[in-house]
């Protein structure tokens, strides 16, 4: 499986994206671009369309109108091999979504074997390397159900990394975790960012956004209300809606 990649094209380009669920217009014209190595945090109230936007990037949701280009490839074009493009995009879910019937090693190996066609030895080597990277080498033969939430999420990150993706999408990766387990997952993400990974992160962790993000985007009602460097957007937002949102979560 090979796809024509334009190395100079930005990892993600979205133009005038609209998404309807039935009558409900959830995304109402999104323009959005992510550069190589950039870390973008998406914030906004519940139901503002953050998850939907993220899921349109790897076509887990079908955009109703507009264009989504991944490394210059238009994935809204029906001729595009979306499965191939998806191997370039790692995705991490709020609920981890590890495969419960497989051990950690097999979780990390299965897509390498069945999608990339790597042999078992090679897939095992990559799996071990990525598991070491998230600090869970000793859990290689465990079943996911025997891991804590934080460990499961780190395995999920390792699983995505095994495909050697060019970019990573995170949809509230710490929202399902007990407070004391959030730190270990954010640490792994911070290291990823420092290693130069392109990342889009939907999160409510404002400290993480402040420290790690290159850019923060505030969404509300299916549109991007405001975006900018974290310091500016989180400390001195210009829009009234952004101010209201930030005040509300501060009080929490």
């Amino acid at each position: 499986m090979s796809i024509q990649r334009d190395e100079t094209a930005p990892p993600i380009q979205i133009r005038d994206l609209h998404k309807y669920f039935g009558e409900l217009e959830v995304l109402r014209g999104i323009d959005f671009e992510v550069k190589h190595g950039e870390v973008v945090c998406l914030i906004g109230p519940s139901g503002s369309g953050k998850s939907t936007l993220l899921r349109c990037v790897n076509k887990l949701e079908e955009p109703t109108a507009g264009k989504v280009l991944i490394e210059g490839i238009d994935i809204t074009d029906p001729e595009t091999d979306v499965d191939a493009v998806r191997t370039r995009i790692g995705m991490v879910f709020q609920q981890f979504n590890l495969f419960p019937h497989l051990t950690v090693l097999r979780n990390l190996r299965i897509a390498q074997r069945r999608v990339l066609g790597r042999d078992t030895a090679e897939a095992t080597r990559v799996a071990e390397e990525m598991l070491a990277r998230v600090g869970l080498s000793e859990k290689i033969d465990e079943h996911p159900s025997r891991l804590s939430g934080g460990q499961q999420q780190r395995v999920a990150i390792a699983r995505a990394l095994c495909m050697n993706p060019d970019m990573m999408l995170f949809d509230e990766p710490t929202s399902a975790l007990d407070p004391e387990l959030i730190g270990e997952v954010l640490d792994v993400m911070r290291e990823l960012a420092e290693a130069g990974m392109t990342m889009v992160v939907v999160t409510h962790e404002m400290t993480f956004a402040l420290q790690v993000a290159d850019r923060v985007i505030f969404m509300d009602g299916g549109v991007i209300v405001e975006e900018g460097p974290p310091e500016q957007l989180l400390r001195n937002p210009t829009h009234e809606r952004t101010q209201r949102f930030l005040r509300a979560i501060e009080i929490e």
Binding site: L60, D83, F93, Q95, N97, F99, I110, V115
Partner: protein, 262 residues
Amino acid sequence: MKRSTRQKVIRYSLYGVLVLVVAIFAIFADWERIGRSFFNVEIAVDMFPEVLTVAARNTITYTALAFIFGLVLALVLALMKLSSIKAYRWLAIVYIELFRGLPALVTIIFVAFAIPIAFPGVSIPGGALGQGTIGLGIVAAAYMSETIRAGIEAVPRGQMEAARSLGMSWGKAMTYIILPQAFRIIIPPLTNELVLLIKDTSLFFVLGTTPATKELTKFGRDLMNSKFNGTPLIVIALVYLAITLPLTYLVARLEKRTAAAR
């Protein structure tokens, strides 16, 4: 009367009624005749080893073939019913409702006799019994497809999404991620289907058979007729139970284990 005394009286009266009924039955029943017609040792011994080496073996073979054929067909139907293409969904629904709505015997007779009459050139291997097996598999598929579909739907949506986001095609995600989890969930109900299927092979008594292709019911019934005695039916009943009871017990254990794993 005190509450506890009253309960004791009720309890003993219930035992008393039971003892009375059994006693009346024991006194008035013609034991000699019952023994002769249902528990004739000579006739029973005479049935061995054929009742096992031929009849039980055939029953198991027909069941296994119908189950495998039905399972493959059921999987296709389940996937059709979950398909995003409306025509496939409708086809699956029509199939399932049709064959669950008809008596299994009608389907078996249709496949075994009506089709060969309509298409004289067409011959399905195994003759009437091969066709009967296919007929039974067709019926079993209708039931099992609903079980499989429920199993697939019980796997959380996030599993398919995680698999797809790793670049797996829909088919690969189904094969390696969804179906292995679905089948774990549905092993107990599928084993139940297997028990039902074992019993349903008795419907094959309507199909033409040779001594070598008789299944348990036909075997017992033919012997009953030729010896003019009920013993063969008792023997095959015991053989059926020897096959189905362990399976039923297994289902109960599997269900307990699945419940514990939740």
